[in-house]
């Protein structure tokens, strides 16, 4: 394996830089996926039939917690990559750990939010609006949950192998993924909650 020392570790082999580029292309597909889900949501938003509408069920409290957690975790994963560039394995692992904990808290709050809706009688089956709401939020939430498993696997590998071209590459790609989920959340926050609460 040829290692090019003039590049950051995560880009240092041809395979590594291909993987990063490939992940950007994959994020292109993810953008198309979420764009479709947002379109579905915006088509359905006023089709709540006899069920509750957005303003009737949304609560700003938990949503603010979720936003705070996810935005901060985007910052800490950035710090992890920063630590990685300097070769601080421990700091890097701590920042990834914090990121994952915040992600876990986010997912937990989202589950509570879903349970509250269901408790209030607003389920997937109730109306077109609620179906699209659950599927949009659920897809994002499933991405976050998958990220928790993925990040966990990377943590184990870092712990065993230390920082090397392979683990650096994985961490960097994971950070791209995590930032992407953050951006999707900002859209959800604006177009689902803020728009719904206004």
């Amino acid at each position: 394996m040829k290692i090019d020392a003039s590049k950051p570790l995560e880009y240092s082999t041809e395979e590594n830089s291909n993987k990063i580029f490939g992940f950007w292309v994959f994020l292109g597909a993810e953008i198309a996926l979420f764009a479709t889900l947002f379109t579905v949501y915006l088509v359905m938003v006023n089709r709540f039939a006899s069920g509750p509408s957005g303003p009737e069920i949304f609560e700003i409290g938990p949503v603010l917690y979720e936003t705070f957690l996810l935005l901060s975790s985007s910052f800490t994963i950035g710090l992890a990559v920063h630590a990685m560039r300097h070769g601080y394995k421990k700091a890097m692992m701590v920042f990834i750990g914090i990121t994952l904990l915040m992600g876990l808290a986010f997912a937990g709050i989202e589950v509570m939010e879903f349970l509250t809706y269901i408790h209030e009688g607003a389920t997937l089956q109730t109306s077109g609006f609620l179906s699209s709401l659950f599927v949009l939020l659920g897809t994002h939430g499933a991405h976050v949950s998958f990220g928790l498993l993925w990040g966990g696997a990377i943590l184990i590998q870092l712990w065993r192998q230390g920082i090397n071209p392979a683990t650096a590459n994985k961490t960097f790609i994971f950070s791209l993924y995590w930032h992407f989920l953050d951006i999707v959340w900002i859209f959800i926050f604006s177009f689902v909650y803020l728009k719904g609460l206004m």
Binding site: M1, E14, S17, N18, K19, F21, G22, V25, F26, G28, A29, E30, A32, L33, T36, L37, V40, V43, M44, R47, F48, A49, S50, G51, L124, Q125, T126, S127, G128, F129, L130, S131, S132, F134, V135, L149, W150, A153, I154, I156, Q157, A166, K170
Partner: protein, 647 residues
């Protein structure tokens, strides 16, 4: 548990299918055991990550699916060959046209093309493999097991029966209570994920792995078409993913996306489906354009006329392909403004397509043309596809479409674009690249026989359908009375379909015959080719090129032959190779189990399978296998052997 759900009743035809599937499976198992081929199968094929072998497996699967889709087609043509036929009942006719459409487009045309891309793209850009060989294997096995899932629906539980477009509310649980459309949503989902990964893989391969010196505007036309196709895949397939997921939620979990009450919206499905569906037809057509461009240049002994305009017309077609979807349902209630917009964008596509047709004609002009089998398919494609294109413009006019919509005229139109566009192209590409992969050519005389049968019978089969459509015969009708007067033309069409069958039989026989009797081809360049795939040996060694070529011109291999520009300058050194892995195959199997369990709402196996998928992914992530090296001596020995020199 209620086993009744798994059974399909009543028809001798279905029992026949069950028995033949069972017999074929038993036969394969006995054969593999008897010849002690299990280890070979596992080591050389099921675990391979070699782009050429994966390509060959795609093509084999596609040929199998062509057979299945073809049998479906024959059953339909037989059922409608005369008034009041009693061969299939309405339900079975519905299942048969649905699976025919799905299989032909998703499990025949697209995999055939992806198979050819797999074999050829790395060779034409002078690379040793695709960017992500293991991901490539994952793509293949997801496609394969998705296809298998759809295929077993015919004998377990019942096939989808709401058309390949599965419009709601017809495809909803209320109106299609069998598991058929559950199969639809899961089988397509699984193979669709595979296709999406292929898209990512090939974009990276083409953009990052080209041989030194191959600038974008020096890429062969097939590479351009493959690049654009994969870009379309990456942006179109997520829409299908979402549409299928919503369909699954509606059918399995009672959500209200496409329902008729509680705020659901049936037209949302039609829109999502065609936002993917129209780009999908360009996914199968654009690579075909690329294949034809290569073949025309090779067999006219000229460089392609208007290279730049060829590239730009494909870029424009790709963009427009996302802006025309509503032409599939002009009659379904949108206003005149919307119809007008989509009418215009649709007709606009004819312009870049016309540019391409003229470029091909100009390439042929004054060329030294040799009429080989691949060239014959290409030459037949031009006029036949033009008929398809012109009738497409007729359909594009929204007000006129009120007359043509859902008639046999439409069926004739899309077969006139899909068969010369996609099927002729993959057959031509198959004949053209066959010697590269296997080291001998297919017999040209048999090839030409098959060609004439196919080309003539195609027109006999489908031209009558234009007339039937204008006479008012609607599509998807399983029978009609004698008074309608549809009988004679339908019988003629059936005769054509039989001719098509004969053509395909000759084609397959040719593969058998040539394998036995055709002489080995030793120089790797049987057609006097122009692009890099002909610069290496046939059959292709595992590492593709002993030395990575240096490219200076557009038709790099041609100029190296004619102007003596050297391609291979460096010395042979050791070559890095990825190692085989069984995980993609295992992942495919688990996805199959997952899909099957979901189809029948067997939640516990479904959850277990989902966990299994995550575990396989995790083990792939923990893998620290960095492949292996082939030593320089070994490469030199292989090269000598392939060139027929004694070692």
């Amino acid at each position: 548990m209620d086993f009744e759900r798994f059974k399909v009743h009543g028809e001798p035809l279905i029992y026949g299918a069950m028995i033949s599937i069972a017999l074929a499976t038993i036969g394969i198992i006995i054969g593999l055991t008897y010849f002690k081929k299990w280890g070979y199968l596992w080591r050389e094929w099921l675990t391979t990550v070699d782009h050429k072998r994966i390509g060959v497996m795609y093509i084999l699967a596609a040929l199998l699916m062509l057979f299945r889709g073809g049998v479906d087609a024959m059953m339909m043509r037989l059922q409608t060959a005369a008034p009041e036929m009693k061969f299939l009942d309405a339900q079975h006719y519905n299942e048969v046209f649905t699976t025919h459409g799905l299989i032909m487009i998703l499990f025949m045309a697209m995999p055939f093309i992806i198979g050819l891309m797999n074999v050829i793209v790395p060779l034409q850009i002078g690379a040793r493999d695709v960017a992500f060989p293991r991901l490539n294997a994952v793509s293949f096995w997801l496609f394969f097991f998705g296809a298998m899932l759809l295929n077993i629906s015919f004998v377990i539980g019942g096939s989808p029966d709401a058309g390949w477009s599965a419009y709601f509310p017809l495809a909803s649980l209320e109106f299609s209570p069998t598991v058929g459309n559950n199969y639809y949503s899961l089988a397509l989902q699984i193979s669709g994920i595979g296709t999406l990964l292929t898209g990512v893989n090939f974009i990276v391969t083409i953009l990052k792995m080209r041989a030194p010196g191959m600038k974008l505007m020096k890429m062969p036309m097939f590479i351009w078409s493959a690049l654009l196709t994969n870009v379309i895949i990456v942006f179109a397939f997520p829409v299908l993913t979402v549409a299928l997921a919503l369909m699954m939620f509606d059918r399995l979990f009672g959500s209200q996306f496409f329902t008729m009450s509680n705020g659901g919206m049936d037209m949302l499905w039609a829109n999502l489906f065609w936002v993917w569906g129209h780009p999908e037809v360009y996914i199968v057509i654009l690579p075909a354009f690329g294949i034809y461009s290569e073949i025309i240049a090779t067999f006219s002994k000229k460089n392609l006329y208007g290279y730049t305009s060829m590239v730009f017309s494909m870029v424009i077609i790709s963009l427009l392909s996302f802006l025309v979807w509503a032409h599939h349902f002009y009659t379904m209630g949108q206003g005149a403004m919307v119809n007008g917009f989509f009418s215009i964008t649709t007709m606009a596509i004819a312009v870049p397509t016309g540019v391409k047709i003229f470029n091909w004609l100009f390439t042929l002009r004054k060329g030294r043309i040799t009429f080989t089998t691949p060239m014959l398919y290409t030459l037949a494609f031009i006029p036949i596809f033009t008929i398809g294109g012109v009738t497409g413009v007729m359909l594009a006019m929204a007000s006129a479409d009120y007359q043509y919509h859902n008639t046999m005229f439409l069926v004739a139109h899309f077969h006139y674009v899909l068969i010369p566009g996609a099927v002729f192209a993959v057959i031509a590409g198959f004949h053209y690249w066959f010697p590269k992969v296997f080291g001998f050519r297919l017999n040209d005389r048999l090839g030409r026989h098959a060609f004439w049968w196919i080309a003539i019978s195609f027109n006999v089969t489908f031209f009558p359908l234009f007339l039937l459509g204008l006479m008012g015969m609607t599509r998807r009708t399983y029978t009609y009375s004698a008074e309608t007067g549809f009988g004679p033309l339908n019988s003629l069409s059936f005769v054509g379909a039989v001719g098509l069958c004969i053509g395909f039989v000759i084609l397959v026989y040719n593969i058998y015959w040539s394998t036995r009797y055709m002489p080995k081809d030793t120089n790797g360049d049987p057609w006097d080719g122009r692009t890099l795939e002909w610069a290496t040996n046939s059959p292709i060694p595992a590492y593709n090129f002993a030395i990575v070529p240096k490219v200076q011109t557009r038709d790099a291999f041609w100029t190296s032959k004619v102007d003596n520009i050297p391609l291979f300058e460096e010395k042979i050194t050791k070559i890095h190779m990825p190692s085989n892995t069984g995980k993609p195959f295992i992942m495919g199997v688990i996805f199959f189990i997952f899909g099957f369990s979901m189809v029948f709402s067997l939640w516990i196996p479904a959850i277990l399978a989902a966990v299994g998928i995550v575990i396989v992914m995790a083990t792939m992530s923990f893998d620290r296998d960095h492949g292996f090296y082939i030593s320089a001596e070994e490469v030199i020995a292989t090269e000598k052997k392939l060139r027929g020199e004694t070692v």
